[in-house]
């Protein structure tokens, strides 16, 4: 699980950006109404909810002279692996060549989301941090200093849409990724398949061929570890090649005929229903699945470009050829081209409570532009016009068209998602889908989609009011 988080967290992250406005009242007013003296005392003792009183809307300006910025900044990161093997210190040393007077300290958190979320109730959550997925977009100005206007930043950087509130950008991802199938080339070739499937039906046919021609498990669900199932949602947009796919979630029924999520979920249902998966999905093991894919015991897994590096490492460890690890887009095309979605990893932001905002800003700028972090991780660079990483060379050859989904309704989508308790970026509904497909749960797919639709559209009616 940890290793997975070390890579991209695109799904979670897109979720992060999608939070909403709500009419809220200050807690201080509410408290007296609901608690007695004793309760208030207990509340005080526990000192729970953060103050929220801070210099809202402040900007972390980029320093003019690198030599003049000084101070010690603390960077909270989810990359425990980089901190442990010392790689992150090398970045800091490199950074200090340009900014000699800034001292950078790192704090790696294994359960990044869980711990940072709680720390954000206080003023002490580092100077630079990755924006946790749970933070509502509309709350960004309360927690983070802005990095500048969107109009200006979007000229240079991708993904600014994801953290923009009121025209100001609050975070910048140091790398991006794209969801897709990680597959074992040797196994697919052994089954006689040379071209990427272009439709879901073709994909199923290919998996069937793998099942009959080889000993490999055609598709591995990673059901028990749950988060791999959530990755399927990030195919949203790839099925229809529509940049408005995310906005449409808020405007229409996501499981209506022909809509992205329905296509995606139907594909997963069919894969499971046709028994093209592992024998017992309830006891799968993510760490164990990596060498299995590398060795060709597993043919395919839906993950993301972030997983390629890990699979290659697993191949080297298992003594097989890392070049056998392939990557392909969701089987859908428009005008003869695949259209994988490009999305950011965790966005880095400057804490509104930081005492060295200039230094913190300098770190973010340097880490995004000059650190080479994206290259090191075989990931997409957030800087516009930067070359593709080598691992996506086959994408270039195949002439795929990357798309970025419009995030206008992101906050609303997240609100509907929570209100309906469907959780499109949560594992539960897909686990139920898999159970349904393999017969461990009664009911038909149609009824299941109808139920999801109803919950979603009901919530959509009341959300945002």
């Amino acid at each position: 699980m940890t290793t997975a988080r070390n890579g991209f967290a695109t799904a979670r992250n897109r979720f992060a950006t999608a939070r909403s406005h709500r009419t809220t009242r200050r807690f201080a007013g509410a408290r007296s109404g609901i608690t007695g003296v004793l309760l208030a005392a207990a509340l005080l003792a526990a000192g729970c909810t953060g103050s929220g009183a801070s210099s809202k809307g402040e900007e972390a300006k980029a320093p003019d002279d690198p030599k003049k910025v000084s101070g010690t900044i603390k960077v909270l990161t989810h990359r425990t692996d980089l901190v442990q093997d010392g790689t992150i210190k090398k970045y800091a040393a490199e950074f200090n060549k340009t900014y000699p007077n800034v001292k950078v300290e790192f704090e790696a958190l294994t359960d990044y989301e869980g711990e940072v979320k709680i720390r954000m109730n206080t003023d002490n959550y580092g100077d630079v941090l990755m924006i946790p997925a749970v933070i509502k977009k509309s709350d960004y100005p309360k927690f983070f200093a802005s990095l500048g206007g969107q109009a200006e930043r979007s000229k240079k950087y991708r993904f600014t849409d994801f953290t923009t509130v009121g025209g100001k950008v609050y975070g910048q991802s140091p790398n991006g990724g794209t969801p897709g199938f990680v597959y074992n080339k040797a196994v697919w070739e052994e089954a006689g398949i040379t071209d990427w499937p272009t439709t879901p039906d073709e994909f199923i046919a290919d998996l069937k061929a793998i099942k009959s021609e080889t000993d490999a498990i055609p598709y591995y669900t990673n059901f028990k570890d749950m988060w791999p199932l959530t990755q399927w949602t990030s195919a949203n947009g790839s099925a229809s090649c529509d940049v408005q796919a995310n906005n449409k979630l808020a405007e229409s029924d996501p499981w209506a005929d022909g809509s992205d999520l329905r296509v995606i979920d139907t594909l997963l249902y069919d894969i499971v229903h046709e028994r093209l998966i592992e024998k017992d999905p309830t006891t799968t093991n993510w760490e164990g699945s990596k060498p299995k894919l590398a060795k060709g015991e597993i043919a395919t897994m839906w993950l993301g470009s972030w997983a390629i590096a890990q699979m290659r490492a697993a191949a080297e460890e298992a003594g097989t050829d890392p070049d056998d690890v392939g990557f392909m887009p969701f089987p859908a095309q428009k005008d003869g081209a695949f259209c994988p979605v490009m999305s950011p990893d965790y966005n880095q932001a400057v804490s509104i409570h930081s005492e060295h905002k200039e230094a913190a800003r300098a770190w973010i700028d340097w880490f995004t532009d000059k650190s080479g972090y994206a290259d090191d991780n075989l990931a997409l660079s957030p800087v516009k016009g930067a070359p593709m990483p080598d691992v996506l060379k086959p994408y270039e050859d195949a002439g795929v068209k990357f798309i970025e989904l419009d995030q206008t309704n992101a906050a609303q989508v997240a609100e509907i998602d929570n209100a309906s308790e469907v959780g499109i970026y949560k594992p539960d509904y897909r686990q139920e889908l898999v159970d349904l497909a393999r017969g461990a749960r009664k009911g038909s797919l149609e009824d299941y989609f109808a139920d999801l639709s109803k919950r979603w559209t009901d919530a959509a009616k009341t959300a945002g009011s």
Partner: protein
């Protein structure tokens, strides 16, 4: 005179000394505030002894509970610095959504399992209270699982139930080839999980029972043996009535435990395949859907349900005083 008075006062301040109390009136001629202080100190002494424990209890038990109750009347999402008071809306929400209570069906598995658990614990406790060979060894073996962390147990049993895992291998040794996914269907998964909880908690019941059984005076056994009672009769007429309060306690713990089963199913299945319990559902509401207010209300409702069940149980089975002799 003042000297004796102050001595008496200081004696009194220790608070454990009987004569000190008698000495207090002697202090009357001395300065009044001093004796007042002495009395205050004496009153405060037991509290001072308890201060550390009370501080911990209040900080880590009562304050969070009070906090939770307060949150249950708000729409807090768990992180936002702002929250709004919504009155009893969350409670209204819970009681108008019957699907939230459907998960209690899963508790029936755990309830059935706890009957097995109590019976087994009683059986072992009775046997090991007699002079059995290696009985200390067996006591250790039976109690051991309770000492293991619940999360670790979850992981251990994941391997146990895996396809081709420990259970399958052991069955294969006996020539049984089941080839089934133990956690694959709702019934099978819940039964397996309930089995794990029996394995885990039987040790606790066992120790409780054993302690109670050993507190029964040995003359009773001797007397019954002289009267020609066999083991079953000893159990039926001496042990069972002798440990009735402990059995009642175990039953209460079993019911509240099955209503709030969490660790093992959460680690092993995460609530998938129809193994979701009420607590797992609450955790998901709080941390997946950021409905901290609603989840707090659900937690309060669970607390009330458990209190109610316990109350009913106490009414049905009153806790009579045990009188064996």
């Amino acid at each position: 005179m003042t000297d004796t008075a102050s001595k008496a006062a200081s004696k009194a301040s220790v608070g454990t000394d009987r004569p000190g109390r008698a000495g207090a009136p002697v202090a009357l001629p001395g300065p009044a505030p001093r004796s007042w202080r002495a009395r205050l100190l004496r009153g405060a002494t037991p509290w001072l002894f308890m201060a550390a424990a009370l501080a911990l209890l209040v900080t880590f038990t009562y304050a969070p509970v009070a906090n939770m109750i307060a949150y249950s009347f708000t729409d807090w999402d768990g992180v936002s610095p702002e929250l709004a008071y919504t009155g009893v809306e969350n409670y209204g929400d819970i009681f108008t959504r019957p699907e939230l209570f459907q998960v209690f069906f899963v508790s029936l598995y755990y309830l059935a399992a706890s009957v097995v658990q109590i019976a087994a614990a009683l059986y072992f406790a009775t046997i090991l209270s007699f002079n059995t060979r290696f009985r200390n060894f067996f006591k250790g073996v039976l109690f051991f699982p309770y000492l293991i962390n619940g999360v670790a147990i979850g992981f251990v049993f994941l391997y146990f139930f895996q396809d081709g895992g420990t259970l399958d291998s052991v069955l294969a040794l006996f020539g049984v080839d089941t080839d089934r996914a133990w956690l694959g269907t709702s019934t099978s998964a819940n039964t397996s999980l309930a089995g794990v909880s029996v394995w885990r908690f039987m040790g606790l019941n066992f120790v409780l029972f054993l302690g109670a059984i050993q507190s029964i005076p040995s003359e009773l056994y001797e007397a019954s043996e002289l009267d020609g009672a066999n083991r079953w009769q000893q159990f039926r007429h001496i042990i069972a009535p002798g440990i009735r309060p402990i059995i009642t306690l175990s039953a209460i713990l079993a019911i509240s435990g099955s209503l709030s089963a969490f660790e093992v199913p959460y680690i092993m299945t995460g609530g998938a395949t129809g193994t979701e319990t009420f607590v797992i559902q609450t955790v998901k509401l709080a941390f997946q859907f950021n409905k901290m207010g609603l989840a707090s209300a659900a937690a309060v409702v669970l607390l009330l349900i458990i209190l109610a069940v316990t109350w009913v149980q106490r009414r049905l089975v009153p806790d009579d005083k045990v009188d064996l002799v």
